[in-house]
């Protein structure tokens, strides 16, 4: 059931449809947001349009780790103060950002892009698994931390990766207990995240 903005047509309707596809926004709140944008052209619409255009042009996925940044490789991958021998594997960029917000990690990252799910038709080849194995194969990595969510799919993926990585002479660790079941990293408080990373095993 597609709800139409009453009286709206053409670009406005397209704007409402595009907003409605954002997480957390249904058709009704999308209509409210679109109306607010149009009513406050200078303070809302123009800055948003500029920010979106700017982001679209300048932000890209890092070819090395999958992080989103204006440089490629990203600023984390090129930061000389970080330990490149430590790689923290996360599902999404949101998880990477959550760990960065907590200031809990001084190593590098690897963004998988999701989790294995046969029901959603996501296999290893839909995820950045091969690039991870290639990174480890260079011999520069000492430890891989599997910081995947404590969901069924997250833990299955962690198990799968641990098996794949067992062939390399590196240590493979997981986040410590204390991450609640079904807990998504993005929603954890900084203290819990820091503790989970510090007590990895």
């Amino acid at each position: 059931m597609r709800s139409k903005g009453a009286g709206a047509a053409g670009p406005i309707e397209r704007l409402v449809d595009a907003l409605a596809r954002l997480p957390g926004l249904g058709p009704r709140s999308a209509r409210r947001a679109a109306l607010a944008l149009l009513r406050h052209r200078e303070s809302l619409l123009d800055p948003l349009a500029l920010a979106i255009e700017d982001t679209r042009r300048s932000v890209h996925a890092c070819r090395r780790c999958g992080n989103l940044d204006t440089t490629d490789p990203c600023r984390i991958c090129t930061d000389a103060t970080r330990d490149a021998g430590l790689v923290c594997v996360v599902e999404h960029v949101a998880d990477l950002w959550a760990i960065e917000r907590a200031g809990a990690w001084r190593g590098h990252y690897h963004v998988l892009g999701g989790t294995l799910s046969a029901l959603s038709q996501v296999g290893p080849e839909q995820l950045a698994v091969a690039p991870l194995l290639a990174r480890v194969a260079t011999g520069d990595v000492r430890e891989v931390v599997l910081a995947l969510n404590v969901t069924v799919d997250g833990q299955t993926t962690a198990h799968y990766l641990a098996e794949q990585l067992a062939a390399f002479p590196i240590s493979v660790t997981r986040l410590a207990q204390g991450v609640p079941l079904g807990g998504e990293l993005d929603h954890l408080d900084d203290g819990t995240l820091t503790a989970a990373l510090r007590q990895r095993r």
Binding site: L116, A118, G123, V152, D153, Q155, T157, Y160, E163
Partner: protein, 389 residues
């Protein structure tokens, strides 16, 4: 674990805990709009057939995760002229007063059920886990001992969940991993590392599920053996390879053994289109302690008495663990003789949580006036009625 102070239950006007003190329905089955204001005491719901008594209990059963006491689809719950349904309740529990609500929500990708606690953000129904412990008995369960194992297994798992709220999440994770593995097998995809990861998950959750069932059956079994009133004493036994293995083998070994068998069964499971071993195939065997005969061979009335005995035993065990449930007993009084009815009311009077009883006539509930409030449900609303002492 210490037992929290339960409300005294012998005095007639004593408040119950947990209890519903408000129940609001909108667009739910035959109840276009209904708002019950209740005392925190037990409830006797009286009304003719078809007036919506079971629907009302079903609404209460949806204040917990799951599909409710009829296992209905979301659309089936929708009233004839309604476009959405909503259930709201005020609960008085051990942790204080809580506002619980659940409703049908239409999204771009279809309908879903959402829930809120104390007016907070909308989440999935799983967020209601542990908020309102429930236990129910309905006429649809009369054939529990003679029908297939599936309903008995679900009944057992609800009992486990009543003592161990984490059980629901475990079952959900196990079920998801089962479907993931079968999807891979059916697609002819033999990625051994992926299958091994899923099988490791199944083995870990499977053993946890079996162990939780064993623990519940032991605790409940002890309570049932003590039964000596007009309700028969029952023996419970788990019929399942994994549950049996746990009695003689360390859990870790059972887990490894299960993972190995799953790996060995890949080809046969792919061909059968189903997972041929695992706790999702277990059963609960119930028999009469006195005669040693299986429950399914008894008369319909005796089977009902046995079910009531199990339910009362479970209510006692859960209450002793500080998890007293609200009991929903649909049309239970009508099928009992006078002596058993009185005995049931006596037992229910001693239960710390609120009890909901339904029936077509007030005469069935003589003896409940001291502990229950009477509510007459009619097509045009409800009113308080006096119960017979």
């Amino acid at each position: 674990m210490s037992t929290p102070e339960a409300a005294p239950s012998t005095s007639g006007s004593a408040p119950r805990c947990p209890a519903l003190v408000r129940l609001s329905l909108a667009g739910f089955r035959n109840h276009a709009r209904l708002e019950l204001r209740l005392e925190p005491r037990s409830v006797v719901l009286i009304g003719p057939n078809g007036v919506g008594k079971t629907n009302l209990l079903e609404a209460i059963s949806l204040l917990a995760p799951g599909r409710g006491l009829r296992r209905a689809g979301l659309g089936e719950l929708l009233g004839p002229a309604a476009t959405a349904w909503a259930i709201g309740a005020t609960l008085q529990g051990l942790a204080g007063v809580r506002e619980v609500a659940t409703a049908l929500e239409a999204t771009g990708r279809g309908d879903r059920r959402v829930a809120t606690l104390d007016g907070g953000v909308r989440r999935g129904p799983v967020s209601l886990a542990g908020v309102l412990p429930l236990l129910w008995l309905t006429p649809a369960m009369d054939r529990l001992f003679v029908e297939g194992a599936g309903n008995r297994r679900r009944f057992l798992d609800r009992l486990v969940y009543g003592l161990d709220p984490a059980h629901a999440e475990r079952l959900q994770a196990y079920d998801r991993a089962l479907r993931e593995r079968l999807t891979l097998l059916r697609a002819g995809r033999r990625d051994p590392a992926w299958l091994t990861a899923l099988e490791a998950r199944l083995a870990a959750d499977g053993v946890a599920i079996a162990a939780a069932r064993v623990a519940t059956v032991e605790r409940l079994g002890a309570a049932l053996a003590a039964e000596d009133g007009p309700f028969p004493a029952a023996d419970l036994a788990l019929v399942g390879e994994m549950e049996a293995a746990l009695a003689t083998t360390p859990a870790l070994a059972v887990e490894e053994g299960f993972a190995t068998r799953l790996a060995r069964n890949r080809a046969t499971d792919a061909e059968a289109g189903t997972t041929t071993v695992g706790p999702h195939r277990s059963d609960l065997a119930v028999s009469y302690r006195a005669r040693g005969t299986p429950a399914r061979l008894a008369s319909t009335g005796e089977q009902k008495a046995l079910l009531i005995a199990i339910l009362l035993g479970q209510a006692r065990v859960a209450s002793a663990a500080g998890l007293a449930p609200v009991l929903l007993l649909d049309e239970v009084a009508a099928h009992l003789d006078e002596a058993r009815r009185r005995a049931l009311f006596d037992r229910l009077a001693a239960h710390p949580g609120q009890v909901w009883l339904t029936g077509t006539e007030a005469a069935l509930f003589a003896g409940t006036a001291a502990t229950c409030q009477g509510i007459a449900l009619a097509g045009d609303g409800w009113r308080m009625v006096d119960l017979l002492p």
